[in-house]
């Protein structure tokens, strides 16, 4: 499979206004390739640089050193900035702070309006996007009448309307209740499955990461683990050392293993766990 996002030797430091202070280095050399259609979770605790990394993918921030290429476009190429942003859409944590218009359908149309898409085409794409996230019935509502999960789905619709090849979601569920979280995750997974959109999901919920194709773990501005969820979560010691938890079932399996039971460390779902424990009892 072709790579859609290629990150090579990415360093980034925030310049401080105070010249005497040294710039704070947030990203310290990241190499990461993401394939088309992949669903990647980026894990890491606060301040590890995962949001900063996300902002590099659609040129909100530019690398101090190294390159970021998305679908063949270098993020430093100012001439193709809008192509790049159309190709890599971004959804943020707080749904309230990314909705621009007082009417749902107009907010979904915002990016298309900016890109100068003609009316008929815009109408069609707005309706399609709203249907895709299941918010079509709310198209004439005001965002303030919606729940957090609904608002976040509207924000996703606004990105999908651009017909992006990949979507970067920066902790999209952090401010939602469990119901809203479920709605949003189901929507993202459907986009990935049905439309083949590459998803980069930044999160600190282990359960969300467990459902992905691939998990990238970051710590102190570096990628420390990068593998399928089973392999990443089986390294419980390493994850705990950098202050991350593992899904409950993985931890249970790990504890059982420590206690001398013969159980696979690569358990990430409840079903797997139940099956494995049943097998233990049967023996």
């Amino acid at each position: 499979m072709e790579n859609i996002i290629e990150i090579k030797g990415l360093h980034f430091a925030y310049e401080s206004d105070d010249e005497e202070k040294k710039p704070v280095e947030v990203l310290k050399g990241i190499d990461l390739d993401i394939k088309k259609g992949e669903f990647v979770a980026v894990l890491g605790h606060n301040g590890c640089g995962k949001s900063t990394l996300a902002k590099h993918i659609n040129a909100i921030l530019l690398p101090t050193e190294g390159t970021v290429t998305v679908d063949g476009i270098d993020t430093k190429d100012e001439e193709r900035l809008f192509d790049l942003r159309q190709c890599a859409g971004m959804v943020f944590q707080n749904p309230d702070n990314q909705i621009v218009s007082s009417i749902v359908e107009e907010d979904v149309a915002f990016a298309l309006e900016n890109l100068g898409v003609p009316y008929e085409e815009m109408r069609r794409r707005v309706d399609e996007s709203l249907k895709a996230v299941g918010m079509y019935d709310y198209r004439l509502h005001s965002p303030s009448q919606l729940s957090g999960g609904q608002k976040q789905r509207v924000a996703i619709a606004g990105v999908i309307a651009m017909q992006p090849k990949c979507i970067i979601l920066d902790e999209p569920t952090a401010m939602l209740d469990p119901q809203g979280r479920k709605e949003v995750l189901a929507t993202i997974h459907r986009m990935n499955r049905e439309q083949g959109i590459t998803i980069v999901l930044i999160t600190h919920y282990m359960n969300e990461a467990a459902d992905c194709d691939r998990v990238v773990v970051m710590d102190k501005g570096l990628v420390v683990l990068d593998d399928v969820p089973e392999k990443v979560f089986s390294q419980v010691d390493k994850l705990k050392a950098i202050g991350l938890d593992v899904p409950q079932v993985t931890e249970l399996a790990w504890e059982l293993r420590k206690a001398g039971c013969d159980i696979s460390p690569e358990i990430i779902s409840e079903e797997e766990c139940v099956a494995a424990i049943e097998k233990l009892f049967a023996e």
């Binding site: 809008f82 159309q86 943020f92 702070n97 890109l115 100068g116």
Partner: protein
């Protein structure tokens, strides 16, 4: 208490007045103001009143809403009336006490002024009662768009207005939350003298402002992510199309305006 605040007081509906193109409504309102101030006699005023109440009836919004719109201006009306009443010294004297004097001309002018201003307020309320703020913003942007040629930032102004409208409910909710949080910490917001209350208000305003700036920063990034780059080359989802009824409404208004001017000359 904060939830009661409404901006522009829009009453949704589907009357013919609601359906008029907002651009035409703004122009009609301007013509209407000119109409009220160009007629200098009672006949003109009666025609103006007829036009106002006709439009109000068509909008199917209860008449009492329009009387309510005049209410905040009562003091202003009273002062205007008194000034006219006592400062007008021409005409026959009806009543006199020391230096105060009421003449029939003065009485006439003050009644005339009250009716005229009341009509003005009621008629312009019709605009905001039947047009949602966001449509109004949109119409203003389009009406002012010729000013873009002289580098007047029309799009930017309209964008600021619509973002402000979008964030009013959000910030009201936030203020409510901050107030509860400060009350829980023992702040007295509803009690105490005026100065203590004003001082305590700071404890609400500071966090509110900080959060508003943070929101603004995040919103700006989100807008950039969705390729916002000002008004250049922008297309719109909301299409404003003028229908025959808009031209009819405009023609009727112009007819009334001419009528008032003619009547003003004749009598």
């Amino acid at each position: 208490m904060l939830r009661d605040i409404t901006i522009g007081q829009y009453f949704p509906g589907d009357s013919i007045i609601h359906k008029l193109d907002p651009r035409f409504k703004i122009v009609i309102t301007l013509l209407y103001i000119i109409m009220l101030f160009s007629g200098g006699n009672y006949i003109c005023l009666a025609v103006g009143a007829f036009f106002t109440f006709g439009a109000i009836l068509l909008s199917r919004i209860p008449l009492k809403m329009f009387f309510k719109s005049v209410k905040p201006l009562v003091i202003f009306l009273v002062i205007t009336a008194f000034l006219n009443l006592f400062l007008m010294t021409t005409g026959d004297v009806l009543w006199e006490w020391k230096f105060l004097k009421i003449t029939d001309k003065g009485l006439e002018t003050s009644i005339f002024m009250i009716v005229r201003i009341a009509l003005l307020v009621m008629g312009s309320s019709l605009l905001t009662y039947t047009t949602s703020p966001i449509t109004l913003t949109d119409a203003i942007e389009r009406l002012l768009s010729p000013l873009r040629k002289i580098k007047f930032p029309v799009h930017e102004l309209a964008m600021m207005m619509s973002i402000a409208l979008r964030f009013i409910p959000t910030l009201i909710e936030e203020t409510d939350k901050i107030m509860s949080a400060q009350k829980a910490r023992g702040a007295e917001i509803d009690t105490g003298s005026f100065t203590t209350r004003a001082k305590n208000l700071i404890s609400i305003l500071v966090p509110l402002f900080i959060s508003a700036f943070r929101r603004a920063d995040e919103l700006a990034t989100a807008m950039e992510c969705r390729c916002y780059h000002g008004g250049e080359g922008r297309t719109r989802l909301r299409q404003l199309k003028s229908a025959p009824r808009d031209y009819i409404a405009l023609a009727v208004t112009i007819f009334f305006l001419v009528l008032v001017i003619v009547l003003g000359r004749l009598f």
